[in-house]
Each structure stands twice: as structure tokens, then as C-alpha cells.
């Protein structure tokens, strides 16, 4: 490999340097029909699953074909997306917050031709490259984090369980049969880069073992006070240890106070806590960010632990499917998963979804815990 210079001169880093320019201006990228009708849209319809029709006050229409995607994408795949955009959409496209891709055309005939083209494109293993769906009362794409692909603190993978769960959810992605939209999110540790704590279904990687303490190097690579103050439960204290006859500064972890959040590891690389047996996922349910009908709400833990089962996380996929199927059968039209669980009562939710209620599910973290206990004699048997 011969080094190819971009033009950057390391001896004169400021020469011709361009900084602080931010992103490209969005207006450069609008399809013409969007540019013309911005702020003047009248209403929309969902013509069929994955195909939106927006009608402008001018009478113009734009048809949007939404396709699912793995957010981990190659250059080759993105070039194929570009080729599709060139072929059907005058070179325009957009991505959604939930990692879907949207292709926009101006007529229903063009939308149908586009859908037909997209549906023929598959990877050699048989999976769709561009599955059309993700609109209306469906399970849309899962927003997720990096997992084993690129993260140093995960308690589970992200792309693997997402693929496994979406394979199970595929018919719900491509149809609009649910009582309301279902938003699934996955975070591979409690740092929650994806902030999944307000999702209908939140899948979250957790650890279950307190950190290893590498006494022999801790004081060389960590600031002991930072490691101590990183702990939200006060489980870490400074201590002196003897290693090979030498007195070293280190920390001691009170295992019974540790809730395995991993914040100490973020501050100190000598406190790793990932573990084959200890790590796995929890399932949280019933959160939402929309203000529709009811206020936004946090997801609640419904399953306290499922082990990591690569490559296809079968237990996780099965439990998620069960919850969605019961919800689909029982909830009223427009009722989000959390609203349904609150209406029937959480005791009924656990019974109907055939989930064990264990002591892990009772909050014991700080003051808000009290407000989740029941100060009433009103409940269901």
C-alpha cells in the first residue's frame, strides 16, 4: 500500500484547513416536489404497507416507499441504494430516524414499479435487501446500538439479536394489523446509546457480576477517586492491597451493593465486568414518546434476565413474539402496548403473556421506587 495524500500537509496542519462548517445544507438535497410544496402539505394516506402518499395544497403528490435496513451498511449496499435512487427517484432519497430508507416518486405507477424492483433484490443467503414496510400499525425497524461489532462495554450484541427479532417480526413489519404502532429498540448496555427507555419493547443488555478488580495495574491507569465517585451506589472504596510483596493503591468493590451498571469501567479500564455467564438481556415494555391519547411513558421491566444465545437469541425472540401476539389479540384499536397493560392491569399482563413475576421486577432504586409500590387495596386476583 502506498500512502495517498488527500492534500493535507502534516508539517503545516493549518494550511488550507477547513473547520467548523457543519453539515451540508438540507435544501440542496430536496427532491423537486418536496422543495416546491414544503410547508404546504394537506394530508397523507398509506396506500399500502410501506407506501405513503402525501397530497399538497397545490394538488401535487409524493409517493414515499419505505424500506427496512440493517443500520450496519456497506459501501456496496449504499451504492446500490444510490443506483435505485438514480433509476427511480432522480437521485433523491432519505433515511428515517429508525434506520429505514425512503425513496420518493411522484406517481402511483412509479411507486409500483419501484416496489416491484425493490422486492426482487435479495442477498445470496435469501434475506431481502430492501423489504417494503414499516408504516402505520406495524412493528417498524428496531433502533439499536453497536454491540459486539464495535463497542467496548456491551453486555449483548446488537445487530445479531436485532436480525433475529426482526425475522420473527417480519410479517408485522410488512402489514398493518396491530392495534397501534409498536416501537422496538435495543441497547447493548445501560449507557443506552439508543435511549430505549421509552419504547413499546426495549431490549437492554445487562451484566450480573460485579467488576473484576485488576489490582496490579489499577493505580497506573486509573484515578482512584474517579473510580470511587463513578459508583452510584457507593459500592467502591479506596483500599491498599499487597501484590507480589508490593503495597499498591487500588479499590475494593462491595459486591452486595453493586448493580452492575458498568459506570466504574467507563472511568477505569481495570474494572471490566463483561462475562459469558453474567451477561444477557432484559425486556422492558410499555413505553412511548408520543403524546397521543396518553402521556409519554417509561418502559417497565417485564423480564429480568434472558441469557445471551448467539447467533439467534431464540428465547428473546420467542418472548418478544409472545408479547406482541397477546397484545395484537387483546388490545383495542389505537391502544399502545403500555396503555393496554395499564388498562388490564399489570397482574393481567403477566398472566396473559405467561411471564413469571419475580422479585427482580420490584423497584428498589432510590425514592421513585416507593411510587411504584401499591398504596391501595384495588387490584386483580
Amino acid at each position: 500500500m502506498a500512502f495517498i495524500s488527500s492534500g493535507y500537509n502534516p508539517d503545516k496542519p493549518m494550511e488550507g484547513r477547513i473547520t467548523d462548517i457543519g453539515p451540508r445544507n438540507f435544501e440542496e438535497f430536496y427532491p423537486p416536489v418536496i422543495k416546491k410544496n414544503k410547508g404546504q402539505w394537506d394530508y397523507h394516506e398509506i396506500v399500502k404497507p410501506g407506501v405513503l402518499k402525501h397530497v399538497a395544497l397545490s394538488g401535487d403528490t409524493v409517493y414515499t416507499v419505505r424500506v427496512g435496513a440493517a443500520r450496519l451498511m456497506s459501501v456496496t449496499h449504499i451504492r446500490e441504494i444510490c443506483e435505485i435512487a438514480d433509476k427511480h427517484c432522480g437521485g433523491h432519497l432519505r433515511f428515517t430516524t429508525r434506520n429505514n430508507v425512503e425513496f420518493m416518486v411522484e406517481t402511483e405507477a412509479a411507486a409500483n414499479a419501484l416496489v416491484a424492483d425493490l422486492e426482487t433484490r435479495k442477498f445470496p443467503g435469501g434475506s431481502y435487501k430492501f423489504p417494503v414496510g414499516g408504516t402505520g400499525a406495524c412493528v417498524s425497524n428496531i433502533v439499536h446500538t453497536q454491540g459486539y461489532v464495535h463497542c467496548h462495554t456491551p453486555a449483548t450484541d446488537a445487530s445479531g439479536p436485532v436480525k433475529a427479532v426482526m425475522d420473527e417480526m417480519f410479517s408485522y413489519f410488512q402489514s398493518m394489523t396491530l392495534p397501534a404502532m409498536v416501537r422496538i429498540s435495543l441497547a447493548c448496555c445501560l449507557n443506552m446509546c439508543g435511549a430505549v427507555h421509552c419504547s413499546d419493547i426495549g431490549i437492554v443488555g445487562i451484566h450480573r457480576k460485579p467488576p473484576i478488580v485488576e489490582h496490579d495495574r489499577l493505580d497506573n491507569i486509573c484515578e482512584v477517586p474517579l473510580a470511587v465517585s463513578a459508583c452510584p451506589t457507593g459500592a467502591i472504596k479506596p483500599t491498599k492491597v499487597e501484590v507480589d510483596g508490593k503495597k499498591l493503591n487500588s479499590v475494593a468493590v462491595n459486591a452486595s451493593r453493586c448493580m452492575y451498571c458498568g459506570n466504574c469501567y467507563t472511568m477505569c479500564p481495570s474494572l471490566p465486568l463483561s462475562d459469558q455467564e453474567g451477561d444477557g438481556v432484559i425486556i422492558m415494555v410499555g413505553g412511548k414518546v408520543s403524546n397521543r391519547i396518553s402521556m409519554p411513558k417509561f418502559s417497565k421491566v417485564a423480564v429480568a434476565f434472558i441469557p445471551n444465545e448467539p447467533p439467534r437469541w431464540p428465547t428473546l425472540a420467542k418472548v418478544v413474539k409472545k408479547i406482541i401476539e397477546v397484545y395484537a389479540a387483546e388490545a383495542n384499536k389505537y391502544e399502545r402496548l403500555g396503555d393496554w397493560a395499564e388498562r388490564i392491569g399489570w397482574e393481567s399482563f403477566f398472566e396473559k403473556c405467561e411471564l413469571d413475576f419475580t422479585h427482580h421486577l420490584i423497584d428498589d432504586f432510590r425514592d421513585p421506587a416507593y411510587f411504584t409500590w401499591r398504596q391501595s387495596t384495588n387490584f386483580n386476583f
Partner: protein
């Protein structure tokens, strides 16, 4: 012939959902074939080695990426995340595998020409793998080596007119919904506000000066498609102050079945004929609607703008015309003191260029948080530690009932000394004249 055997990952190639494994393999094959005759600037087989290290993680059920690594470009304190493999001899192609975050355009609209330009740079100087997009919103370029960082920065700024995104104790790359560009619900131009603030705060985005990360997100309406209320320290959510607009002829058309409820959002199942009373009037959370068989009426003074009627009959029921936004502050994920959603600070603000009123709120919050925030404390945690009253004080906001769901149920009230006649000092002598010891 694959470089590594990946029997576990191979099982993720079947099933209908797009397989990231197939896609990485596709990229590995592309680089091996090298149809464009590139002189790849990072190991040609890094996609193979990424599959290898991922297979090992699937076997071990543990990650194989090391903790940290401080790398970046000259003059910036963010935008690049250092990443090193903990089995570099087994997987030399990904031994150094840093992430580069690029600032995405507001609304995530692209042209193929632009994306191809970015991909050409990444094909030559990176792994050929990306995330479209990261959780915060950036274009994430996944995996390159340290010597390529300045070259990539030079290329993206000079050729693509694009900057890096945020990381660390910075303003993170702001993100928005597509807003008025293609949505009739949008109450303000999310894209313009997002783009303007991103550019106005480039210094805060590139040079760490905050206690911790700070995120802006912009939702055009209370449906919250970009989830700002859960995912951003500073959440701007579109709303309106005047009456919901009703087109009574179109209401009749919905009742008659000429328009599909929800635009057809529930059409995959037979829910029966659309029943406006059952599905709209009775589902209104404030009970402020009525339908007499001919006319839909809304008592707007009791409406809380939940969007249900508008979502269900988008052609007939529309947001008002006196539009703007609510500002909520302090959302964060569980680390450290539990998850938080943003809390309402400014019930209504007009959203118009040059956005000075919004910027004043932002800068007042930053001044306070940079002064009082502890290391790695999100502003939501500072609010909890120092009180919502303090946030009101530093943003010159008057307390109002809209700020709370309900008033406090404990009597432990802090009064300011000037609020008490005579201040906090007692007349001890007079007291003891009234009360013998």
C-alpha cells in the same frame, strides 16, 4: 474463500430481514475483487477480520474491543472514537478500527451524488462499512486507522463540504424529524432550526467545554417521531396555541368512508366501519370533543393537543395556525441516576429566524450547567440535584402550573429570605419577652 470460518454468523444470513452478515461478506468480496483498482489505505481484508472478531464474540459471548483510545483530528476534541481490537494478532485488519462521525444533513435527505462522494472516500480510506445512522443521528464511518484520520477530515471538508459530528463532553450532532418538508403535522421548520443551531454552535460541538454530552433534538409535533422527549437534553417539540382547524365536509367524508381513518394506518385488519364517536370523540383524553351526527366540535380551551384526532383524520382535522414549540429539558438514559424524560420549561415559543429567544434559553442553561454541573453530570441530573426552581431562575422563567403534573405533596418549602418579612433574623429579645424560658 472466506478468511475466517463463521458458522455462527452464517446462521444470520437466512430469514427475510436484511442480513448485515451477508452485507459485510458482500463488502469483503468487493474489496478482494477490487474492481476499481484502488490502493486501499487500510487493510483490504478488514471486513473479513470484522466477521472473524464478531464470530469470536458470538462464541465467547463477550466483546473483543478494548477500552478507549484517544485519537482525533487537530483542533477538535470530538468526532472520532478510538477503537482497538483485543486480539490484534488474530485479526490484524481491525487491530486499529476507529469510528469517524460525520454531521448528517437535517432531515436526512440525500442525493446519490453526495452519498457516492462520501462512499468513495470511505472505500479508499476506511473499512467500507458504515452505520446509516448512529443513534444520535450522525453518519457513522466504522473502522479506520490513525494515519487516515487527518486525510479523511481533509477529504470530507474539501470535497464534500461536510464536517465531523460530536462526541465526548460536547454538543452532540443535533437531529430532527423531517418536519414541514413532507409532513402536514409539523408546527415549525425543524430542519431550519436544527441546521441553524448546529452551525451557530460549531465551537461547542467540536471543542469539549461541557461537564458531559448535550443533545438537541427537534420534533415537529407532539407525535415525537425523533423521540426528543426521551433522547435529548434540550427537546423542542412543535405545538400551537389557537384552535384546531376542522373541515366539516371532510369529516363527513371520513364518516362516509371516503377517507380511510389514520390515512389507512390500520387497514391490514377488519376493525369494522369507522366510528367517529368511538374512535375519535371517546378516545380524546380530555373529553373536549363532540359529534352530533353532522358536525364535529372541539372545546379548544380544554384540548391538550395530543394529536389523536388529527392523526386519525389528517385530511379533516388540522393543527392550528398560531404555531410554535414547547421546550423541554433534561432527558437521559439510565446511567447514572436512572432514566429521565425531558421536563417542560417553556410552554410556548415562536420559532422564527434568527431564533434568538430559543438561543437565549440554551445559553442560560449552558452557563449554569457549566458552572454548577459535576464531571459527567447530564443537565437533567443537575436539575434534580439543584431543583427545577433553580432552572427557572437561571432561565428567567416564571413558575406556572404548566410546569408540574401536580403541586408538591410535601410541605418542605424553601423560601427565599427576601420573601419573608424581616428576613430570616428573629427578634430574639422580643420573643423571650413574649415567652419565658
Amino acid at each position: 474463500m472466506a478468511k475466517h470460518q463463521t458458522p455462527l454468523l452464517d446462521q444470520l444470513e437466512t430469514g427475510p430481514w436484511p442480513s448485515f452478515v451477508s452485507d459485510i461478506k458482500q463488502e469483503a468480496a468487493h474489496r478482494a475483487a477490487n474492481p476499481d483498482g484502488l490502493d486501499y489505505q487500510v487493510p483490504v481484508d478488514c471486513p473479513d477480520d470484522l466477521l472473524g472478531v464478531l464470530e469470536l464474540s458470538f462464541k465467547d459471548k463477550e466483546t473483543h474491543w478494548k477500552h478507549g483510545g484517544i485519537v482525533g483530528v487537530f483542533g477538535y476534541g470530538g468526532g472520532v472514537i478510538g477503537r482497538y481490537c483485543d486480539q490484534p494478532e488474530m485479526f490484524p485488519g481491525v487491530a486499529h478500527f476507529h469510528t469517524v462521525r460525520l454531521a448528517q444533513p437535517s432531515g436526512k435527505y440525500y442525493t446519490s451524488e453526495y452519498l457516492r462522494g462520501v462512499m468513495d472516500i470511505w472505500d479508499l480510506r476506511g473499512s467500507g462499512l458504515t452505520n446509516m445512522h448512529g443513534s444520535t443521528g450522525d453518519i457513522v464511518l466504522l473502522g479506520t486507522t490513525t494515519p487516515q484520520l487527518e486525510e479523511i477530515f481533509y477529504d470530507v471538508t474539501h470535497k464534500m463540504n461536510t464536517d465531523l459530528g460530536g462526541s465526548g463532553g460536547n454538543l452532540r450532532t443535533p437531529a430532527d424529524c423531517l418536519g414541514q418538508s413532507r409532513c402536514e403535522f409539523a408546527c415549525y421548520d425543524t430542519q431550519d432550526l436544527c441546521h441553524t443551531l448546529t452551525n451557530d454552535y460549531q465551537d461547542e460541538l467540536h471543542r469539549p467545554a461541557f461537564p458531559y454530552k448535550f443533545k438537541f433534538k427537534f420534533d415537529g409535533c407532539p407525535n415525537g417521531c425523533v423521540a426528543s422527549i426521551a433522547r435529548s437534553d434540550f427537546s423542542v417539540i412543535g405545538t400551537w396555541k389557537d384552535d384546531i382547524r376542522i373541515d366539516q365536509d371532510r369529516v363527513k367524508a371520513y364518516v362516509a368512508g371516503e377517507f380511510k381513518p389514520g390515512g389507512g394506518s390500520h387497514s391490514g385488519r377488519d376493525w369494522g366501519k369507522f366510528d367517529i364517536v368511538k374512535e375519535v370523540v371517546d378516545r380524546c383524553p380530555t373529553g373536549c370533543m363532540s359529534y352530533d351526527g353532522a358536525k364535529l366540535a372541539i372545546d379548544n380551551s380544554n384540548c391538550t393537543r395530543c394529536m389523536h384526532c388529527i392523526n386519525t383524520m389528517p385530511a379533516a382535522v388540522k393543527i392550528g395556525t398560531e404555531t410554535g414549540a414547547s421546550i423541554l429539558v433534561g432527558a437521559k438514559a439510565p446511567i447514572l441516576d436512572g432514566a429521565q424524560m425531558s421536563s417542560l420549561l417553556v410552554p410556548f415559543v415562536v420559532v422564527e429566524q434568527p431564533y434568538d429567544e430559543i438561543k437565549e434559553v440554551i445559553e442560560n442553561i449552558w452557563d449554569w450547567w457549566m458552572e454548577e454541573g459535576k464531571n459527567r453530570e447530564r443537565v437533567g441530573e443537575t436539575m434534580k440535584r439543584l431543583s427545577f426552581q433553580k432552572l427557572l431562575e437561571v432561565t428567567n422563567t416564571k413558575a406556572m402550573p404548566q410546569h408540574v403534573v401536580e403541586p408538591r405533596s410535601n410541605p418542605y418549602i424553601f423560601f427565599k429570605e427576601e420573601e419573608v418579612p424581616g428576613g430570616f433574623a428573629h427578634d430574639e429579645k422580643a420573643y423571650r419577652q413574649r415567652h419565658m424560658r
